[in-house]
């Protein structure tokens, strides 16, 4: 049986892991190589590294960080943040990413997903999708939360998968950093609309929240602050998920 995944996320800025609430007010949270190794030893199933600097210098730095993390990390590594074109994705893969996530650039030009899928394979092509609730639906948010578009989240997820995305990293903009639990209705809507794996992100504070997301259809759960704060470990989360009846790798 294909098991459910627990994926720590490192937001990286200028070679350091940072954390913030709703993408704002960054605080230092440690060395990316050290944390990547720690989480891998704890039984993390993959790692996501997001470059939150969004500057050309920051992207160069991110490639160096990816190179350093890759040397240490014996599990899959997804890298996102600031990927604008095929060449950016290629540079990250060459540096050691196994998958590349695109967000704003894919919204601007969905064909980028197709180019990545053809060049590197669909399994390397991840759509990072930030969603903000509006009434009974969700709208796509880009540019790290600065722009809310008219685009419907479920429609965009389907379009992106048709274009070439092999996985969706779905973040609830409303829940991110709140610890209030994932937006389960959002997860149900997107997971029901596409046939590719979906990673739930935004709002997790407990293993119970994660179990809810997996029951709502997510294939994997992303966690950042609860791990960086040292309140819990990947191994503790996975043992708890197993007790709650989830198939995880222990």
């Amino acid at each position: 049986m294909l098991m459910r995944r627990v994926i720590p996320c490192l937001d990286v800025h200028a070679g350091r892991v940072v954390k913030g609430v709703q993408f704002q007010s960054l605080r230092d949270a440690g060395d990316p190589v050290e944390l990547a190794g720690l989480y891998a030893d704890q039984g993390a199933d993959e790692l996501v590294l997001l470059d939150v600097s969004a500057t050309p210098e920051g992207r160069e730095h991110a490639v160096l960080t990816v190179r350093a993390v890759r040397k240490r990390l014996p599990i899959p590594l997804t890298v996102g943040g600031g990927v604008r074109e095929l060449g950016d994705a290629g540079a990250l893969l060459e540096a050691g990413a196994d998958k590349v996530a695109v967000n704003t650039a894919a919204v601007s030009r969905p064909a980028l997903l197709g180019e990545m899928a053809r060049e590197f394979g669909r399994q390397c092509t991840v759509l990072a999708l930030d969603a903000a609730r509006e009434g009974d639906a969700w709208r796509v948010v880009v540019r790290s939360g600065r722009d809310k578009l008219e685009l419907d989240v479920v429609d965009w997820a389907r379009t992106a998968v048709d274009a070439g995305a092999g996985e969706i990293l779905l973040t609830s903009w409303d829940r991110d950093g709140t610890g209030a639990g994932y937006d389960l209705e959002l997860l149900q809507a997107v997971c029901g609309g596409v046939g590719v794996p979906v990673i739930a992100s935004g709002g997790a504070d407990t293993a119970e929240h994660m179990a809810q997301a997996l029951l709502a259809g997510a294939d994997a759960v992303l966690a950042a602050s609860i791990l960086h704060d040292g309140h819990t470990t990947v191994s503790a989360i996975k043992r708890r998920l197993s007790k709650l009846g989830m198939e995880v790798r222990l």
Partner: protein, 204 residues
């Protein structure tokens, strides 16, 4: 001095993960697109990212495919990963009739839409009792196509996603993995070590 492990440059992008896995084990790694080097190296890895048709075409054109076939037939230490495994097969649905190297008398087919595709994540591996390198455990898979039948003359480990499929095959010093051992944590590292040790013994 020649490297401990030679990786075939198939034209696909990410070789960093497989390079890092061998370097973590203290082995030196070189990357080549030279057919003679592939034919004569101590140990060769046929890596696994990219699309079937262009990679198969490239291997045939520059003679590296023939060199890989020679290695498998002569039982020279060879590791094929993911797409690398499919390239050893007769063909893949991915390439719509495109031919593989044909050392495995089976073909790869896409997972049905009744399951999540691509398969991305850790899945259980159950090795047949006659396997020497492969063991039970969990491995990381990233694939949309898989082989569902045992190739004649090979020992097999199995996994399950919409029914049983071939997680890996082994015969002597040749190991072909549908999963990515280089991304399969400690379990994957131990498998790579067993493959390295096995190759070491036979090359003495």
């Amino acid at each position: 001095m020649s490297a401990d492990v030679l990786i075939v440059r198939t034209g696909a992008a990410n070789l960093a993960s497989v390079v890092a896995a061998f370097e973590r084990l203290g082995r030196s790694v070189d990357i080549t697109d030279n057919a003679f080097a592939v034919r004569t190296a101590k140990r060769v890895v046929l890596p696994g990212v990219g699309a079937f048709a262009p990679v198969a075409e490239r291997l045939r054109e520059n003679g590296m495919g023939e060199a890989v076939v020679h290695r498998v037939e002569e039982d020279l230490p060879t590791l094929a990963v993911c797409l690398g495994l499919h390239l050893l097969a007769a063909g893949s649905e991915e390439a719509e009739g495109g031919r593989g190297l044909g050392v495995l008398d089976v073909e790869a087919f896409r997972f049905p839409d009744t399951v999540v595709v691509p398969q991305l994540g850790w899945n259980t591996v159950t090795a047949d009792a006659d396997c020497r390198l492969l063991m039970d455990g969990a491995a990381y898979f990233a694939n949309s196509y898989r082989i569902t039948h045992r190739p004649a003359g090979w020992q097999v480990a199995w996994s399950d996603h919409a029914g049983p499929f071939v997680a890996a095959v082994e015969r002597g010093n040749v190991l072909g993995c549908q999963f990515h051992p280089e991304l399969s944590g400690e379990w994957g590292q131990r498998l790579i070590e067993r493959w390295l040790d096995n190759g070491g013994e036979s090359s003495c």
